[in-house]
Symmetry: D4
Subunit: 254 residues, 8 copies
């Protein structure tokens, strides 16, 4: 076994450089690696669409790792069970129509599925701004390393072009709010009270293109619409990710 540290470094730099260059122009960029973002990215990849998932944290999975109150279990209802099955996540029926899965397994299997579908992950990357040109469409993203921001440093960003953008950033609806703050025609109403049943039943209609080129998925969809919030039930999340993937695919076909 002959190792050469320089070869190792070069291997990493060369491979990732190619990925970065490819990232500069993608069909779809999904922002946020929680349940809806992962589902959306995995299904976009499955359709052969060039898709990048951008996550500001070091790890993928978002708020799902901790289950409910650090008890690492999640619940999914009947309607979404087929997605668990599709991604190979084991679950147990607790009461009729309620399935319990392990949160760690759910994250791992969804991420693995997205990888298998050819999604490229960019973790520790923050979206600072969006690009909107004369056509009034979100046509690209302004990105930076997350640690630069965490360390309070002033370093300029880079930009990437993407035909469709999916805001799957959760309660904050970060991308939609960015556009609202700069005068774009979106109103982010913010989550309403917790009412899981209602939130779950409405999320699919809130999953849509809210600004030319920008789609919302998961809790970001409910936050934009002023819809109720849910707790540790994830069926709606998965279904919303699935719907967003369909909408993006249609938009790319246009």
């Amino acid at each position: 076994m002959r190792l050469n540290e320089v070869t190792i470094s070069r291997a990493i730099l060369e491979e990732q450089h190619r990925a970065l260059i490819d990232l500069l122009e993608v069909d779809a960029a999904v922002i946020g690696g929680g349940p809806s973002g992962l589902t959306c990215a995995a299904l976009l990849g499955k359709r052969g669409i060039r898709c990048a998932l951008i996550e500001k944290k070091l790890s993928i999975g978002g708020g799902m790792w901790g289950g409910g109150m650090m008890f690492p279990r999640i619940v999914v209802q009947e309607e979404a069970r087929r997605l668990l099955d599709r991604f190979g996540v084991a679950c147990r029926e607790f009461e009729e129509g309620y399935y319990v899965a392990k949160s760690v397994e759910t994250v791992a299997k969804l991420t693995a599925a997205a990888c298998d579908a050819g999604v490229e992950f960019f973790n520790l990357v923050t979206v600072e701004d969006v690009m909107v040109r004369g056509d009034g469409r979100v046509g690209g993203l302004v990105i930076n390393w997350t640690p630069v921001d965490m360390a309070g440093l002033h370093v300029d960003p880079l930009t990437i072009a993407c035909t469709c953008t999916v805001d799957a950033t959760g309660h904050d609806a970060t991308i939609a709010r960015m556009i609202e703050r700069k005068g774009g025609n979106i109103q982010v109403k913010g989550e309403s009270f917790m009412w899981a049943e209602r939130a779950e039943s409405r999320i699919l209609e809130h999953t849509k293109e809210v600004y030319p080129g920008l789609f919302v998925a998961g809790m970001a969809a409910n936050a934009v619409a002023g819809e109720c919030r849910m707790g540790p039930i994830f069926g709606g999340m998965l279904l919303s990710g699935e719907r967003a993937a369909e909408l993006v695919a249609e938009a790319l076909d246009r």
Copy 2:
């Protein structure tokens, strides 16, 4: 679709309660969810050994998520390629004998494999101390919620019993150092300079039972032995996890 938030909460509490009660007495406890810990746990699980993986952070995967310098790629050499294959991680040969994989995919697939093997994950849990009784063996662990420590609160821990413990906590070799600090007969020599080749070639001999009931794997093994450190090459990590699993299995058979 009729949801009931109370049912969701009860489902999570009941399911996880059972897991916690089961955790109180396990065959093997692996501390640390990095590459060597995950490999070890997955292979222990495969053998039908009741195994718990305890990780202090919210997410599983440790330092692997960021690849080298935030370029999310890792390198594995020839000898360890079969483990990548076994866990279903795609890789590309960069130069002869050097394979590059995506760091996100590697984490996801290793974690998924451990889940499939029946390993129970306890994330956001910190090991505060070990239990050593009259027989001079590490017979259990003293655990607490990580956020309790992060928040500077004073809350008493709980304890679990385990026949074998694997310290896969990386450079810090946290468990081994705990025993050293309290006068146990271990000397943690600390990592030496970076020399990937040497570090990779020696790690298997350093992977062993360093105190009755306590095994070390991955960088913790090298840190205890005063061995050189490696960079973003992970073959030795995976192989060390595999070896640790074999040693634990043997010990449990005794």
Copy 3:
């Protein structure tokens, strides 16, 4: 004496698990373990109502521990003295109608009384949100571990159902403000200037149901009403807690 650490851990987990499951559906949830919340919970418990007291800090007692400016004494006026007597708190008449008690003793005796009355305490638990459904009533609470928030982690909450909720969170009127912020029909006017006499005399009329299912007690009642604030005089607090308990009991009878 034969101890077994695993038995100890199991005992704690089993007993508290039962309490958590019971918490999922209670008659009354009192938020905040200061003087008015403790009084309210103790008197609700006395009436046989299933009552949970949720406190975000590690210790129960709120701002009462420190007396006035860290001189650990509190003052109670004539009207409320009978409550001190009822809870067994010793006091000394300083001037006619003004009784001085020790702040530490007052906390301990009120808490002890609530325990004796069967109140279940959930400390280190934060209320993140409320549940409001189609009937427009506060029907439940969204809770999480406080250290999760203190540590800046992202972990999903759980939910509990409660028929009546008492906001006894002090100046902040946390629960009432939550509803106001999300567009519920409450206006939290905020405390006015200090005027102990007026604040004490008005607090009982401000102690009421301010939103379907939500009652306010103690300083939260005055804060919602825009009433004056008090200093380290606690008679009104105790009386307000007593009144809130009566109102909740009536509501539950309806």
Copy 4:
């Protein structure tokens, strides 16, 4: 009801001033308001000994509030059950010889008992140093407000005289370490591994006068002796507090 804010302030200042002046010379000072300190102080007070309990935090109760891992229950074994009964703490037998009590109730009842026994509490007060004169005895304490230290301010302390001092500061054994650091003839060996059974069985012999005028109780006793640590089992704590009270009473009789 006519209130006068100035009367309220004067009442608090006058009453507490008297307590402070009384504090300047006490028979016994107990440092630390956890289970052993509270038990010790309560039993000293019962014997008619003038006793002050000094606690650096705002609330009394120490690490007991959080039970084990934030599940607010504690366990007490057979031998110590009579102390729970004596203080009026309800408990339930979990297995033979293991009783589970609520942590909140335990704190409240122990504190209430100490109050009833005439113990004076000084919370938010830190012991900065001890007084040792020509006779080589710990004859007093150097105290300051805790927030002064928390705020990083430089303010001189005050001093109090006490015939006997009980270090019930837990794992840190703060007072004993202070003396060790300044060259006094004590060696604080530090806690050893967790071994609840052994720790519980030895604590009474470690509860003793470790330096002229200084007694250790609870975990501080075990920490000085290099004894094993316990988890959330509190029988030894209560019994150690009881023993310390007996030793102090004997010393005062000399």
Copy 5:
């Protein structure tokens, strides 16, 4: 030389207790120990008015210690020179009409003059709120220890009664803003641009009773009026303090 630490502590406690009790009802309370507050207090004291100066920091002197940009000199113009002379502060003429003094000496001499005039100082004390009763007058202050706030603790305040209050808190105009925020009829316009000449010439007309019982002096006067700010020229400050003392004296005579 025979010392007794307990006597020392008792001496401090007894003496300061008397001062605290006296503080509960004063003629005038000056908030802020900068140049205008010190001048005002010193001159009130000279007139035999019972005056307390409350300063939130540990040291008296405010922003004057550092001179201009840490060069510890201040400048005073002709009109105010007589006040420097009156307080015994040495100065040197730099150009016609401009006198330079040392900032350290200026603080020391003003403070010494206030002490000699019988002013009682309360440092490390924060004003949390004001008391306004039925007569619509500021009739008292709600005070707390500053370190309590710095340490993020929750401790109730005490209250004092004062016939006249002088807000000499500088740019922040803390007391005036408190009243504005709670709906009192004051508008704090905030400082305008720097224009020393104008600011100095107008400060005396802005020094006045801005709310029944509340006077403003120094930069607080200019901040309430929306007047320009000054730099390190202190004549207007001293003259404003003098004027405020005259106005308070007149008000007390009414």
Copy 6:
């Protein structure tokens, strides 16, 4: 009244520049503006010795402002009363031989006396290092702005030359420790237990030249000698400052 901001700035810069240039070579540098440093500097100045007082904080006075536990009173015994009188500090006899003074007044009057004696103050200045040349004498100081260090910036220092240096930095004995750390022949033993009587009686013999060119005064003298500590009794401090001034004067005469 015609002001000109530029004239004000120029006046401050020119005056302070001269003081800085003068500071570059002084007879005596006193480090630390607490009671012993102020007394020493004032008495050196009185003797016509060119003396600079360097204080790292913004305000002069050190720990004296806060009295004992924020009760702003200090105690001085009979022997030192003449120094209070000399500096014009009012005091009251509490018991025979114990005089109580106000801490604020004591700081102000000592500082004023030093100013009157011609001492130049350099506040917000930190001593980073000392200069020792071939003659083995402390011959100068390496100074920097305190805020540079507080802000974590890297800026080079300047240096000043001084014939004698007085370490009056309190418990830390900063200057003496600096020399010890770099291998100079001093041993800083650190304060022993509190024993005011002994500490006060021995401080004068510990006030001496501890290294060629370096004198210690106040608590720094006791800290170097391993002497006991005192509480809020300041007689020894003042007398030690007086003695240090005598020793420095003698040394300068040599």
Copy 7:
């Protein structure tokens, strides 16, 4: 080689004192040492105009050091290439019309050019406020040491007079916002979305006198105008700095 530390200190103090005195009255003050500020200052200096560049950080160069996402390269388009040439910055044509330069070299060469042109740099200096007098013109600046603010200290500023001021503070447009906040007739609209082409093409028309005596350059110009933002393309920055220098020169000629 005979060195004398005092001579070194005196040399620095004397030389910089002269520069500070000169700073008190300058023709032009440029705030911010990024690309546009440096270009502007260098070209003003070249014209023989007395110019000071004030930078709040320790180092000059602003956000340019880090290139794009820490890859230390910048891009400049055809139109601005002549400025790179003028300042001696090497560049390479990447595609037609796009030139890549090293960010470190660009900073160094621009700064060197400004030094050669006689610009005086004041780093670690913050502009706190502006001076506006009766003529309604920005006639001066209120400055302070940056570390004073970073350390949270309260120290008064000094002031300087300048005929023209250039706000080159980047996205924040600090000076323009200061005037807006105090009621001056400017509206800072804030940056719009990223659209490099448009932002670059419009920046010259936004580079202008936005308030009597105040000019904006670089991103501050676009931020005031509500114009789009750019990424790591710097041509517009350099050209805007050039234009600002021309406008200031014209204004000074008037």
Copy 8:
């Protein structure tokens, strides 16, 4: 001018990627961008040696930016003047043999010279460890992004190979200490007292190869040797950088 953000990003990525790949194997790596490191790198580059300068901060220049105590001037003595001239730094003779230069200009000109000599700069990069293989030589460096460390993240490093390494990290002598800590045969004695004359005269003999492949320059050389420290006189720094360049050139010739 038609701009394309993607082209800009690609230009930066491609250009810097090439530099990173080149960095993987260099002749000389200089760690630290202060005066000695910059001089060394510039002179190495001039000799045609492939040299990389690695700086952990965002900006190059180290402690030189702030001059002495934020007065941005530095002093250089006669012997080193020729280096100022060589780099084009203007200076003024203050006294015979003492030249004063502006600190900002000195940084800019030294950096520009290094750029012109072909040195490649890697700022925001931290050296975490060194590579030492069987030959016992420092043969490479383990590097990471500085913000990763500042943000407290766990990300693996990369490695580079270099024939010679120059530790120019100042007082800390970071690289030398790394080797000492891991048992290499170096003793870093640490700086002694300030004595500029001696420090300047000895620095050239301390500038040497202290471990196979590792050279020390500037203050790091004096720190390793236990030599005295200097203040803001930079002649020795520049000369030491020059000497280190000569030594490295010789070593590469061997």
